[in-house]
């Protein structure tokens, strides 16, 4: 038997003391174990972080640090955009674009909102479409300009329209664009598609055509030189015009002293003679009648 009351210092016996055995069993209790290994450290960590950031200065420091990091990244030379290169735009349009885009170079590519810039560009009247791209530190802006297709004479001036009828820009003299056909009348831009088909059909009269007039916002008139006018109906205007052209081919209708070919009722074309012509014609008819 081991002597009573002595400590087992020299005896090789790896047995744990009763206390340490109980303590270990206590620590192995599942709930306590989870509390000690996750709950308490988590709480202490949260507490420490909370206490540290309870101070306004510390929060400010953290924010400044975060800003510093953010800035140091976005200001790297790899992300710097130093210039914009605009292609596909005339000199005036290019100037307009530079004016309208809200960027000051050099700028970081993170602060460029290319989608927003494209939206701004497309809203410009002379711009049909635009694509923007940042490459090698340069903002490439590829613009396709609207091509003027018509000159629109309005009460308060002249405007250029493209082939969809969209406003391009205002001009001062019609003769700056002598090759473009002239349209007139309220709301002509709304129905420019029909004007284009009419123009295409009226190719035989191209040398005589002065312009197209939109009347009452529903139908087109063709204005020819010598104050001649072809009034077309609102419906089936092209067929009516082709009838006139056939009449012209066969009977030189438009070479005669006629001021208006009225096709508004296309089954019943009506001609209006020039002023004075009617009395001359009447006299001739009468005299020929008297001869008989």
């Amino acid at each position: 038997m081991r002597p009573l009351g002595t400590r087992y210092t020299n005896v090789h016996d790896p047995a744990p003391s009763r206390l340490s055995y109980r303590l270990m069993r206590f620590m192995l209790t599942p709930l306590l174990r989870r509390l000690v290994f996750y709950g308490i450290p988590g709480f202490v960590l949260a507490l420490a972080v909370g206490l540290y950031f309870a101070d306004e200065e510390h929060r400010e420091n953290l924010r400044a640090f975060a800003d510093d990091v953010h800035r140091s990244i976005i200001e790297r030379p790899e992300f710097k955009v130093s210039a914009a290169q605009i292609s596909g735009a005339g000199p005036t349009l290019e100037e307009d674009i530079r004016e309208v885009l809200p960027v000051d170079f050099p700028i970081s590519s993170f602060s460029l909102d290319v989608q927003e810039m494209r939206k701004i560009l497309v809203e410009l009247d002379p711009v049909a479409d635009a694509s923007l791209q940042v490459r090698d530190g340069i903002l490439f802006i590829d613009v396709s300009e609207r091509k003027p297709a018509f000159v629109w004479r309005k009460r308060d001036g002249l405007e250029l329209l493209d082939e969809t009828g969209h406003y391009v820009r205002s001009i001062t003299a019609r003769m700056d664009y002598p090759s473009l056909p002239l349209v007139a009348g309220e709301g002509a831009d709304k129905n420019i598609a029909e004007a284009r088909t009419l123009l295409a059909s009226a190719m035989p009269l191209a040398d005589r055509l002065r312009g197209l007039i939109y009347v009452g916002e529903r139908r087109w008139d063709l204005a020819l030189d010598r104050n001649q006018r072809i009034m077309l109906p609102a419906e089936d205007a092209v067929q009516a015009l082709e009838k006139v052209l056939i009449l012209n081919d066969t009977q030189e209708l438009l070479d005669r002293a006629i001021s208006v070919v009225d096709m508004r009722l296309s089954e019943r074309p009506t001609l209006r003679l020039n002023d004075g012509t009617s009395s001359v014609l009447l006299r001739q008819i009468k005299s020929s009648g008297a001869d008989q």
Partner: protein, 444 residues
């Protein structure tokens, strides 16, 4: 008699509670080492197709999550002789196993080999009044067994029905649902000294654990080391431990006899220590490193350094040949085996249809043991090692841990014992009336 019955029933319900929690510890209290495994029951065999694999001999359904062994102290011949030291040893092994497992264990199933186990064959017979044999009838026939007077201070450790007979049809393992008149049973009962159980229970209680079952290590070794057909046809498992050599005889998958020879590997070590005049630790080292039982010509030239630290050069430089060592070890091992032979003969082992003998336990690892054992015990001797159980560490898969594995199997799938059946009501009533009468007699 109802005391142990109630205690065993309480342990069974404790075991059920432990399985519900999923963690249980098994403890083998031996004379040389105390081993502990912590098992987790989480239904591993849910993935196994029961149709194709079968019950896997009971080793599925749980896995080992912690294991530890420690040197025994305070235990001799499988019995506790010094409570504080034994308690410290049990505490050590439980703490390291729990640490490894990372879970707290509250229930433990223990096995031990001491307590001078004694086997009894019981027989009982009843008349079945109903048409079919029911579980109630089985409980009745088990209660009808005439229990021998196994003496004061002894306790029943196992009481397993081994065989049922119904109207001259014997060899039934489960007579429930069958039709017959006369139901009789044979039961094997194993008693050990009450003190050894109480000591063990007290030590475990001191470690803040609940005892959820006790098994005899002879039984546990047989469960772990005998293969299925050996258990079925008749065989003996001889667990050669340090302090004791326990033997169990199995037949029809039931233990029918168990006994203990109070001789073991420690005696061999002590012989070497005395014969060579070396300390016990050195003798143990020489035995495990160079020991043997069958001398050959080679062994004459195989010189073993004995060593020593007395300071006397001549004394510390002694060498012996291996033949001399074998000459010391062999008589003692022969004595142990002859003692086993005597116990087997007393049990009537030679009448069994198959007489396979399986040697297991730490002391069976001496080279030449199988040859020597077959000379003494008979031709059908083999060295056994325990079944493999899920996640058992390699270091625990040797024959020295077969009792530990056996207790694990016992914890997972215990065989039916007497106390698994309900007490027949009229028997209990009669007993309590008799008790009341006795009380009247004693007090008036």
């Amino acid at each position: 008699m109802t005391d142990f019955y109630d205690a065993q029933r309480a342990m069974r319900s404790m075991r059920k509670a432990a399985l519900q929690r999923g963690v249980i510890a098994v403890l083998d209290v031996g004379s040389t080492k105390i081993g502990c495994l912590i098992l987790r029951f989480d239904g591993v065999d849910r993935n196994i197709d029961a149709e194709t694999v079968g019950p896997m001999a009971g080793q599925s359904g749980f896995r080992v999550i912690g294991s530890a062994t420690t040197r025994s102290r305070g235990i001799e011949f499988g019995e506790i002789v010094s409570m504080p030291e034994a308690e410290r040893a049990i505490r050590t092994v439980l703490q390291s196993a729990q640490k490894l497992a990372g879970v707290r264990v509250d229930h433990v199933i223990a096995s031990f080999s001491g307590g001078a186990p004694r086997s009894y064959g019981l027989a009982g017979q009843i008349t079945v009044e109903d048409q079919f044999v029911t579980e109630q009838h089985i409980a009745e026939v088990l209660s009808a067994c005439d229990v021998p007077a196994y003496g004061e201070g002894r306790e029943v450790l196992h009481a397993q029905p081994v065989n049922f007979a119904l109207d001259h049809r014997s060899g039934l393992s489960d007579p429930r649902g069958q039709i017959g008149k006369e139901l009789s049973t044979d039961m094997h009962m194993l008693t050990v000294s009450e003190k050894s159980i109480l000591d063990l229970a007290y030590c475990i209680k001191r470690c803040d654990l609940e005892l959820a079952g006790i098994a005899s290590s002879a039984y546990a070794c047989g469960m772990a080391s005998l293969v299925e057909d050996e258990q079925e046809l008749g065989s003996a498992c001889i667990d050669m431990g340090g302090g004791t050599t326990s033997l169990s005889i199995f037949m029809k998958k039931h233990m029918i006899y168990a006994d203990t020879v109070r001789l073991g590997g420690d005696h061999v070590t002590r012989d070497i220590s005395m014969g060579l005049q070396v300390p016990i630790a050195t003798a143990e080292r020489i035995k495990t490193r160079s020991g043997g039982l069958m001398a050959t010509g080679m062994d004459d030239r195989d010189m073993i350094e004995i060593g020593g630290d007395t300071g006397d050069w001549e004394h510390d430089r002694r060498t012996i040949s291996r033949t001399e060592l074998i000459g010391i070890m062999r008589p003692r091992v022969e004595e142990i085996l002859e003692e086993v032979r005597a116990h087997l003969d007393a049990a009537g082992f030679e009448h069994l249809p198959s007489q396979q003998i399986v040697l297991t336990g730490g002391a069976s690892q001496v080279p030449g043991m199988d040859t020597l054992a077959s000379r003494i015990l008979g031709q059908q001797v083999r060295l056994g090692r325990p079944l493999r159980i899920h996640r058992l560490p390699q270091a625990y898969s040797g024959p020295s841990c077969s009792a530990l594995v056996g207790v694990s199997l016992f914890a997972a799938h215990p065989q039916d014992e007497w106390w698994d059946f309900e007490v027949p009501a009229q028997k209990l009533g009669a007993r309590s009336i008799r008790k009341a009468l006795r009380w009247f007699k004693e007090n008036w």
